[in-house]
């Protein structure tokens, strides 16, 4: 904590610290919101926010103050949060980072937005992201790339790049994100923050603009596992409006059980060719720390790790081509100015409204679902998906958690990979399998690589094992300080 107090300039307080300050009446929710809004304005160069509305934020903060004054006790009451602009919001813009939805305002709130507001969180605004959550660097946004606060010439990762950037830079203590193939975990790793993608079906997809429905999953980003546990507890839960929402009894994510006695599986495929030496060193050091905490390391194999890339890049585009067919220039979204007939209106509206990567995925998905190719590509990918998911189940027979790197490298330079779609896809190698299997995955800051860039440790759990993952991450963060390191000049 900085010498000027928990909310002073240059500080980046956790949710727990803010909670204590609010409860002691050292600060009001309105004052807190004002301080974060000032930081957001001072750091607009990051290009992290697509929509800020001070009046709306302060109105939410006043409502939180009224609930506090009335004696309500909720862990997140009065705490600010920023939402990835994949979650639709009434009153705020909802663009999905796309020109297609540049002028769209949603008539309803996503379940996640609704739940966090009910929990008393104050919305600071909507966050930039790759268009329709497709990408690995946040460079696919129609509204420009986001800078990594650790090195302004580098990408923050993607697709929840701004979610990670604002938490790292201290512009918000918490952010929501979504993860279809690594979009929470990879930017969290590249910006040095903590994130959890829960088991598929834990967090409602209602009002989360759909990319690939069998993979999409929302989750929180914050500075620590303990903060993520508070956020996940508020976000998760059965929602009848999401047909794949899991109907299970609520669990206490805040229990944070210790790591002692855990068997940690270390997949050899995650440490082979292509893994940068600085990332490998940081991940190995953190595995030794878990041994010191009383866990044992077990060698495991996830033999189809490499196949997760082609399987994902068939299944995700196939679902995307179907989901994005709703953008036709008829009911909402962009419509071209000139056209002769209905087909031309749709085709031209979509050509103008979608960016290059979104189009590539729609084309790919349309092709693999088309007559004559469906069995060979789409069904084959779904069969490989089962093999990949089964590999994880086989591995979990000899371990409780799996750990390895989140991404092969630290954050790369803006523009370095944006011209080569396949090079970008290959960066997703360690996160895609977890998504295809629907397993929960975390990213936890675990060291620094060359140039002091953050490295993330991936913690993979079996289905519904979020509590164990959060507990292990929390204990790691009790004995290390990687998660407390701040980018140079952040929130100054």
């Amino acid at each position: 904590m900085s010498a000027v107090g928990p909310m002073g300039a240059g500080s980046r307080p956790s949710i727990a610290v803010l909670r204590a300050e609010l409860d002691k009446r050292n600060v009001s929710a309105v004052e807190l919101a004002e301080r974060y809004l000032a930081r957001i304005a001072a750091e607009s160069v990051l290009n992290a926010f697509l929509h800020v509305d001070e009046a709306r934020t302060l109105a939410e903060a006043r409502a939180a103050d009224a609930r506090l004054a009335a004696g309500e006790k909720l862990p997140l009451l009065g705490i600010p949060v920023a939402h990835k602009d994949i979650f639709v919001t009434r009153g705020w813009r909802s663009t999905a980072g796309s020109k297609m939805l540049a002028g769209y305002t949603s008539p309803f709130d996503a379940t996640v937005v609704e739940r966090l507001r009910a929990a008393g969180m104050v919305c600071l605004g909507k966050l930039n992201c790759d268009e329709f959550a497709m990408g690995s660097s946040n460079e696919n946004s129609a509204f420009g790339p986001v800078q990594n606060p650790w090195d302004r010439d580098r990408v923050p990762g993607g697709t929840s790049g701004a979610s990670a950037a604002v938490v790292a830079a201290g512009l918000s203590p918490a952010a929501t994100g979504t993860d279809t193939g690594g979009s929470l975990r990879q930017p969290a790793a590249m910006c040095g923050v903590t994130a959890i993608k829960p088991t598929y079906g834990r967090v409602s997809r209602y009002g989360m603009i759909a990319f690939a429905s069998s993979l999409d999953q929302g989750g929180p980003m914050a500075q620590s596992a303990a903060d993520c546990a508070l956020l996940l507890a508020a976000m998760a839960g059965f929602d009848p409006r999401d047909s794949t929402s899991i109907d299970r009894a609520a669990e206490d994510y805040r229990a944070l059980p210790p790591a002692a006695g855990l068997r940690i599986g270390v997949p050899k495929e995650f440490f082979g060719e292509g893994l940068a030496a600085d990332v490998a060193a940081a991940v190995h050091a953190s595995l030794r720390e878990f041994e010191r905490l009383g866990a044992t390391l077990v060698d495991i194999s996830l033999p189809r790790t490499k196949l997760s890339i082609p399987a994902y890049y068939v299944i995700a585009p196939a679902e995307a081509s179907s989901n994005l067919s709703r953008f036709d220039g008829v009911r909402y979204g962009h419509r071209a100015a000139d056209y002769d007939d209905l087909t031309e209106m749709m085709a031209r509206s979509r050509a103008e409204g979608f960016g290059a990567e979104v189009k590539r995925r729609i084309f790919t998905g349309t092709f693999v679902l088309s007559h004559g190719y469906y069995d060979a590509y789409y069904l084959q990918a779904q069969k490989v998906r089962r093999l990949i998911a089964q590999d994880f189940q086989d591995a979990f027979r000899s371990c409780d958690l799996i750990m390895g790197p989140v991404a092969p490298t630290t954050a790369w330079k803006l523009g370095d990979k944006s011209k080569d779609p396949v090079a970008m896809y290959l960066e997703d190698i360690f996160t895609l399998g977890v998504s295809l299997a629907g397993l929960p995955g975390m990213s936890v800051p675990c060291g620094q690589g060359a140039g002091n860039l953050p490295v993330g440790l991936q913690i993979i759990g079996n289905y519904f094992d979020e509590s164990r993952m959060l507990g292990a991450a929390h204990q790691f963060q009790q004995s290390t300080d990687w998660h407390t390191l701040r980018p140079p000049g952040a929130a100054a």
């Binding site: 909402y332 749709m346 060979a376």
Partner: protein, 99 residues
């Protein structure tokens, strides 16, 4: 896997995304790279493997939920129409389809 211009035009048409003749070459190169990547799946022996569409179905049956057949949506007719590029008499307006 090389895609012919005719194949590319067919994909663009099925996708309802206009592609100019000038862009067709670049698209062909990009998609060829992606299809070379996904072509790796062909080498995998998947005989006897059932496709997995819901990830959790690998551990348990995931039947779709049924609900009572009742109206539970809020009427947002005006708000929904308000997002449309063109409406008339409470209807979405599109170019004439049938002469």
């Amino acid at each position: 896997m090389h895609l012919t211009p005719a194949q590319l035009r067919r994909i663009a048409h099925l996708s309802r995304i206009e592609v100019s003749a000038a862009d067709l070459d670049r698209l062909g190169t990009e998609l060829t790279g992606i299809f070379d990547l996904i072509e790796q799946l062909q080498a995998v022996d998947t005989s006897g493997i059932v496709p997995l569409s819901h990830p959790l179905a690998v551990i348990e049956e995931m039947p779709l939920r049924l609900r009572e057949d009742v109206v539970d949506e809020i009427d947002r007719r005006e708000a929904n129409l308000g997002q449309a590029p063109q409406t008339e008499n409470g209807l979405f307006l599109v170019p004439k389809v049938i002469e």
